[in-house]
Symmetry: C2
Subunit: 356 residues, 2 copies
């Protein structure tokens, strides 16, 4: 374990996160929902979307762009669907509520769609997909965001890096769980190469002329992320924009606010979408069939030098087990960010760190 990492137990990180949110005016229940999602995300090893983001949410709670006592509610609905207004509450609060509504619709009709408006950054999309899978449902979660990704042929950002996640019950295995963005790589990978002074593959970014570049130095001012697999990632971005933005009444593209860099007194108006399918009713054999499929993939011939084949989510579930046993080894950038979160929320972070 690198000495730049700081180990903290899941419980302690969770309690810190709850306390920080409580100190910024969030009620106990909403603080617990939010902290558990952020902390589980860190325990999965997905540090870009865990408590590293807490700082940004706290600033918005202090600034008024997030409503500490906002209450998401259903504004229109039918037998299998609903549209939820997030009332500018935390994205984790609105999204957890929305997936619960989707599960209720799925119990009634077999599947449910819930679209969300007036939300904010919702952390890791996988958290809501996993929420559905915990109840035995297939879950899908997605969200829109400010433009940060080019389209094929564009010179700058056209769509958000719109996340898409799903989770599927898998019998004796932990759920299949994919959480991807439609960009070739996350901006964080470009920043990391920039800090190391290393070139990047020429497929990650385009420059100010819209042409491929292997230079991470100009990111993000003078270069833009590319869509994953070109027109495929761009096409998926627009499907997500359709279900999370256009269908929900949420803001879209340039009308969305930046949850991190934008004025913290103004709501971001993010959109999101959640789908759930009732496995027990539609296809009760599904978990056993997915279990066999995973076994088959695990047993497939491996490339030279590869020890093991993974299915989506497997590394995250193993990280969670390890985090439960050994605590979470937070990278330095995450520690720095949650130190700022502690300052914003008048929390004593050091009280929560355990000795490795």
């Amino acid at each position: 374990m690198s000495s730049s990492r700081q180990v903290i137990s899941i419980d302690n990180l969770n309690e810190f996160s709850v306390g920080a949110l409580r100190n910024c005016g969030v009620g106990e229940a909403d603080a617990r929902v939010t902290a558990e999602i952020l902390t589980t995300t860190d325990a999965w090893g997905v540090f870009t979307h865990g408590n590293k983001a807490l700082r940004g949410y706290l600033r918005r709670l202090r600034g008024g762009g997030l409503a500490p006592h906002g209450t998401p509610s259903v504004v229109t609905e039918g037998p299998g669907w609903a549209l939820v207004d997030g009332d500018s509450s935390l994205g984790m609060v609105t999204s957890t509520y929305a997936m619960e509504v989707a599960l209720g619709k799925a119990r009634a009709t077999g599947l449910g769609y819930v679209g969300v408006r007036n939300s904010c950054h919702f952390g890791a999309a996988g958290a809501y997909a996993a929420q559905a899978a915990r109840s035995g449902f297939i879950g899908v979660a997605m969200a829109n965001d400010i433009p940060s990704v080019a389209s094929p042929g564009s010179r700058g950002a056209v769509t958000g890096s719109n996340p898409l996640a799903y989770a599927v019950p898998a019998g004796k295995h932990r759920p299949l769980m994919l959480d991807m963005s439609i960009a070739t790589v996350a901006g964080g990978k470009v920043y990391a190469a920039r800090e190391r002074g290393e070139p990047i593959p020429a497929t990650w970014l385009i420059n100010d002329h819209g042409q491929p570049t292997d230079d991470p130095q100009a990111y993000p001012e003078h270069s833009t992320l590319t869509p994953a697999a070109g027109h495929k990632g761009f096409g998926l971005a627009l499907l997500i924009e359709t279900l999370a933005g256009a269908l929900t009444g949420a803001a879209m593209t340039t009308q969305v606010g930046s949850w991190l860099a934008g004025d913290p007194s103004i709501a971001t108006h993010h959109g999101a979408a959640f789908l759930a399918l009732d496995v027990a009713v539609i296809g009760p054999d599904l978990p056993a069939r997915i279990e066999s499929l995973i076994d088959e993939i695990h047993a497939a011939p491996r490339a030279v030098g590869v020890d093991r084949l993974y299915v989506p989510g497997e590394k995250e579930w193993e990280n969670l087990e390890r985090s439960r046993k050994d605590g979470i080894a937070l990278p330095a950038d995450v520690v720095a960010s949650i130190r700022e979160a502690a300052t914003i929320s008048d929390m004593d972070l050091d009280r929560y760190f355990t000795t490795p």
Copy 2:
């Protein structure tokens, strides 16, 4: 237009296709449904999935692996979903029926899911997504297939090249329409490079050791397609396998039959899945919002040397317009394939070709 191409009007190609299917025992209505999908796909310029495939379907109709008078039907259902057994009828017949069932469910509850088993290759997934959009719905279509694509770290094929398509009503514009496979590129592109004796990008294939290769010569015997964007394409393949295979009771991975190379007397047992969302009920503003989004993308700054930015489906809709006016310019490989189809079905193809 290359001299190796052969021009045929949409009507003539459609009538040839209807006649060929009729001659192999398919009823008038099913032949018309199938021919229209195959011919529209050619008119879109998606020649890999149009009447080029007719030959393979006719062989199966003659061989018994496809039932000329098969009748797809709902076997289980709930308010918002149904599972359809294709009864080994043509994939186009079963899929058109299944999407109609999904539209009916969506009219009742807001959204519908229909899973299909005992189907066969269904042509272009986009055809069924477009079917939904024509009725004002958001449509999604997907299918599984025999393994042809590696997973990250595997040495051979693990999943199908599982297609995924969607279509979205777009106001004054033609629908947004994406039709993608989860492979980096279609096998057809590798064959084309092989025929030209040219190397390919090292991202398209892995060799027998599971390592990247730029040599198309060993495909497909000793090399395998890679998943688009690595773990993202692989993850999407498993989502499609979940909804089109595991949930429907269809065959999966190695249990699926090869519609083209397999024994034509044995059914392939492909699975498919269809989703529809009722725009008019859930979000009546959607077409206008998508129209604006498309206008915004069209007006975005372009890379140096790029004349125009496209949205998904735009090239296909323009090809359709051109095909209506000037006929379809069939590539030589398609002409060769439909000549074989004519032989199998005792049709006189030359009668249908017009003078360019």
